[in-house]
Amino acid sequence: MKKLDRNQMAARVARDIPDGSIVNLGIGLPTLVADHMPKGREIILHSENGVLGIGPRPAPGEEDEDLINAGKEPVTLLTGGSYFHHADSFAMIRGRHLDFCVLGAFQVSVAGDLANWHTGGTDAIPAVGGAMDLAVGAKKVLVMMEHLTKKGESKIVERCTYPLTGARCVNRIYTDLAVIDVKPDGLHVVETAEGLSFEELQRLTGVPLKRMLTAA
């Protein structure tokens, strides 16, 4: 079985973002999706800190401390891009103007509940950022995560044990092992990693999966 690496996962997510979409990429792993957008597609990237139309990373020496993304990394602006203040930026998010957001996750439940902001540990410092707004606001919420924890436990669970970011908000899960749709009647496997059978994925996942009859 060939697990997808981080870049392959990012490329797999990018493949599903249609031409003309407005997309917010969460910090960390989801930010990689920007590097894998298929050539020729016009996609507008939004960032919480008040920018639409994020371009590629600047060349070394060309960074501008006033032009950053939500992960506080230097970025560039595409022709046609725009700047706006934070309340407008979150009006775009909460007001359902974004087509997609891509978020990392600790856990996703069968019902599409998302946990990605707090491990719940007593010594852990919580940080939520814009995740809760994105979870309720984007038209489609895509989650990108490793399928299993370092201990080999499924991150797709019956019920999240970590504090929720949003309830019933996830539409599709991309892992290093599979692409899975969250639907009202349960989890539908869209595809599995090369050499991984549905049965093996089911064994690793621990919550009931359904076979998708037609490929997405």
């Binding site: 006033d66 700047y83 309340a87 998010i93 940080a127 809760m132 707004d133 309720v136 949003g166």
Partner: protein, 238 residues
């Protein structure tokens, strides 16, 4: 007529202050102070340094983050001037001053989702008494809050955040306090300017009245009380 012109002279609006120290001199202990910026973009570093030097303590700070590294807001925390912070994203790789104070119980944290933080600030500036947001419904951050179902969605009632002072950074200002910004350094500044009783702005450049294109003014001077020009190294053009 002479008397008339004298009156006009006396009424000239001039919000320009000579130094950051002068602009912040009256901040009392216990004040609620909004500080603009998202990470370092838009952080009014000179005003924060002046606030540290000014000495006000027991402050409640509103910012998206809780300081990075050792400068700016992190230095204010390190100086133990802050009793409470409202923010959305305190934990970062270099937020060690916040982390230490939070873990030792010396600093109270009110964690607010970023969009709710922005809207609570906006609501204060707009005179709105509260609003229902879908954000955080069903999560720990909505515990104990009033909720309401409107149409087919569930919402959480949130209240405005008012401040005594807002310290923000802008690019250019005139003596009326009209402001323009630079790129993503704008972030929270326009809404914070509206939500504070006294907004103090650090700008790269001050210009003559009329030099700012009215179509390009982002924060009208009505939201600004004091402007300080801070000479900073030339920004690189992107």
């Amino acid at each position: 007529m002479r008397q008339c012109s004298a009156i006009i002279f006396a009424l000239v609006i001039d919000k320009l202050f000579p130094t950051a120290a002068a602009a912040l001199a009256d901040i009392p202990n216990g004040a609620t102070v909004m500080i603009g910026g998202f990470g370092n973009a838009g952080m009014p570093a000179a005003l924060i340094d002046a606030l540290i030097a000014q000495g006000a303590r027991d402050l409640t700070i509103v910012n998206n983050n809780a300081g990075n590294g050792d400068a700016g807001l992190a230095a204010l925390l390190k100086a133990k001037r802050v009793k409470k912070i409202l923010c959305s994203f305190p934990r970062q790789a270099d937020s060690w001053h916040f982390d230490g104070l939070y873990r030792s119980g010396e600093l109270e944290l009110e964690l607010v989702p970023q969009g709710t933080l922005a809207e609570r600030i906006r609501a204060a500036g707009a005179g709105v008494g509260g609003f229902y947001t879908p954000t955080a419904f069903g999560t720990k951050l909505a515990e104990g809050k009033e909720t309401r179902r409107i149409g087919d969605r569930d919402y959480v009632l949130e209240f405005p955040i008012h401040a005594d002072y807002a310290l923000i950074k802008a690019d250019r200002a005139d003596r009326w306090g009209n402001l323009t910004y630079r790129k993503t350094a704008r972030n929270f500044a326009p809404i914070m300017a509206s939500a504070a009783r006294c907004t103090v702005v650090q700008v790269r450049e001050t210009v003559q009245l009329g030099a700012l294109d009215p179509e390009m003014v982002v924060t009208p001077g009505i939201f600004v009380k004091r402007v300080v020009k801070i000479a900073t190294p030339m920004q690189k053009a992107a």
